[in-house]
């Protein structure tokens, strides 16, 4: 199961930290919430990217009436309040909702759905801007060299890769730092054995703050920042290796 693998990935930061900081919880608790945070956000961002890139390419390479309007709608989606997304997803997955039969309320899958909705607009909009920024000369050159439409698209994507990496990171940043929707659809559940089911770093921070334990909340916040830094470094690294090939 990918969750355990992610737990292992989060291990270097999480292990020993509670003891070192004198925190009122065990490392298994911290490890599991780091794992849930990563599992939910990474899955959501991967799915978002898979959906967003073709849309960005299609919009970037075509011209039709309403194209600008569509782009404006996507850009507006970047500012969509996460709490509202959480409520809409809750209504959808609730027992009475259209997806009620799948029994998704208070599961990680529901959290992935809401983060997918949140991450897709920024990834699409920023990718679209990056693709638009690739000069027409590059496309023309690819076409002149006998490239098919797919070849031209691939060349453009390669030229726009830094912008696209930024887009993915923006989507990831939105997903992992978001608290409103995952709290509503996930329920912030951790078992009596201290293992998180749907508790993420952000909802754990909210839980600590609710009880006035601001110091613990800040430590969890620091873990979240470190985690985001690591993910950013990894994505940038992948982008660089892509250049060398």
């Amino acid at each position: 199961m990918p969750l355990e693998a992610l737990g292992a990935a989060g291990l270097p930061i999480a292990v020993g930290l509670p003891a070192a900081a004198g925190l009122p919880f065990e490392s298994v608790y911290l490890r599991s919430i780091v794992a849930v945070s990563l599992y939910v956000s990474v899955t959501a961002v991967v799915l978002s990217t898979v959906v967003s890139l073709p849309i960005a390419v299609a919009l970037g390479f075509s011209d039709f009436p309403g194209r600008r309007f569509l782009a404006a709608v996507i850009t507006t989606g970047m500012g969509f309040p996460s709490v509202v997304v959480g409520l809409l997803v809750l209504f959808a997955v609730s027992n009475q909702g259209p997806l009620g039969t799948f029994d998704l309320v208070f599961t990680r899958e529901a959290m992935i759905v809401s983060q997918f909705v949140l991450a897709t607009p920024p990834i699409t909009a920023i990718s679209l801007a990056a693709i638009g920024g690739v000069g027409t000369d590059v496309r023309d050159a690819a076409r002149v060299l006998g490239g098919t439409k797919v070849d031209v698209a691939l060349v453009t994507l390669k030229e726009a890769r830094y912008g696209i990496a930024t887009a993915i990171l923006a989507g990831f940043g939105r997903a992992i730092s978001e608290v409103g929707s995952v709290l509503i659809v996930g329920g912030n559940i951790a078992g009596s054995d201290g293992v998180s089911k749907t508790r993420t770093l952000t909802t754990a921070i909210q839980l600590e703050a609710r009880q006035g334990r601001y110091d613990t909340a800040l430590v969890l916040g620091a873990v979240l920042v470190v985690l985001v830094l690591i993910v950013n470094a990894v994505v940038v690294r992948i982008g660089d290796e892509g250049v060398m090939q």
Binding site: G100, F102, F106, S192, A209, R210, Q211, G212
Partner: protein, 308 residues
């Protein structure tokens, strides 16, 4: 929680059994597994039961006994009941009798039991500017605060504590409002912090106050019944199963097993023995030699009077 998951588990279980069938001939018989093992019970409850740590202590023995998982979602009484109304939880543990009664009268909840109690206390800043200390009536204390227009922080979140606060305002004959009255929409811990920072009064459940007492400069000014104060500040908790006739896919069997456990001598002992910072926070109330029929029905309900 749902039929789908159970069917899924049954399929997996069946597959595993088929795979093991060869082995059982060698090991000499299969071990019987209880039918509920592996299932998940979704409990929606209030922040006070969760934040005080009681639920973890209470749920662990139940999970071991039945081989199940309890997903506790801490939401506040209003939201907990709303989630149950939508069929998204199996059992609710809350503390606002009027809201519980509404829930049962709507047909959403059945088999209500009294579970435990603690009490509310009126807390405020050290100087006690409104002068309510040791008043024997909660309503009088609230009326005095309103008259002095001393700052008061309200939960404002339709929680059990908020519901109780509104009852006390009602008794005091005051419609709270104005610059001195702040509705925060936050949990109890956050509200106590705000009261601490602003030197304001608030109504708190004793458990959350005790667990935070060391960090804040607000003190108990009017005690609840546990400290010899007015009965109006009693804080009884009830537990209700979601009606499987309304929501056929709730895990009713497991919900009833859970209600059975928490109201059993064993579960009540856990509640009685639970300490946070050396203090007892909850007092068991499910067991009594004398019959108490009112716990099963909406308050004041009588079969003679027809619908209440």
């Amino acid at each position: 929680m749902s039929i789908q998951r159970r069917e899924f588990l049954a399929t997996i279980g069946g597959g595993a059994l088929a795979g093991l069938a060869g082995c059982s001939a060698v090991t000499g018989g299969q071990q019987a597994q209880p039918g509920v093992a592996g299932e998940t019970l979704t409990l929606t409850t209030t922040t006070s039961t969760y934040d005080t740590g009681l639920l973890d202590a209470l749920n662990a023995p139940f999970e071991d006994m039945y081989g199940v998982t309890v997903d506790s979602v801490a939401q506040g009484t209003g939201a907990a009941l709303e989630t149950a109304r939508a069929g998204d939880s199996d059992v609710v543990m809350v503390h606002a009798r009027s809201l519980e009664d509404e829930f049962m009268q709507g047909g959403y909840g059945i088999n209500r039991r009294d579970l435990m109690f603690n009490d509310f206390v009126i807390v405020g800043p050290e100087g006690d500017p409104a002068g309510i200390e040791d008043m024997s009536s909660a309503a009088e204390a609230f009326a005095t605060i309103a008259e002095a227009e001393a700052p008061f922080v309200s939960r404002g979140d339709n929680s059990g504590t908020h519901t109780k606060e509104l009852v006390v305002w009602d008794e005091a004959g005051v419609e709270p409002g104005g610059a001195w009255y702040q509705e925060t929409g936050q949990g109890m811990g956050a509200v106590l912090n705000i009261a601490h920072e602003q030197g304001a009064y608030t109504l708190s459940d004793r458990g959350t106050y005790l667990s935070q007492r060391s960090e804040i400069d607000v003190g108990i000014l009017v005690q609840g019944p546990i400290g010899g104060g007015p009965e109006l500040l009693a804080n009884p908790y009830g537990i209700i199963a979601v009606n499987p006739a309304v929501h056929p896919d709730v895990n009713y069997d497991l919900a009833m097993a859970y209600i059975g456990y928490v109201t059993s001598p064993q579960g009540q002992d856990v509640i009685e023995g639970y300490r946070a910072n050396g203090e007892q926070l909850f007092f068991p109330r499910a067991l009594s030699e004398d019959p108490d029929f009112q716990q099963y029905v909406p308050e004041g309900w009588s079969s003679d009077a027809g619908d209440s």
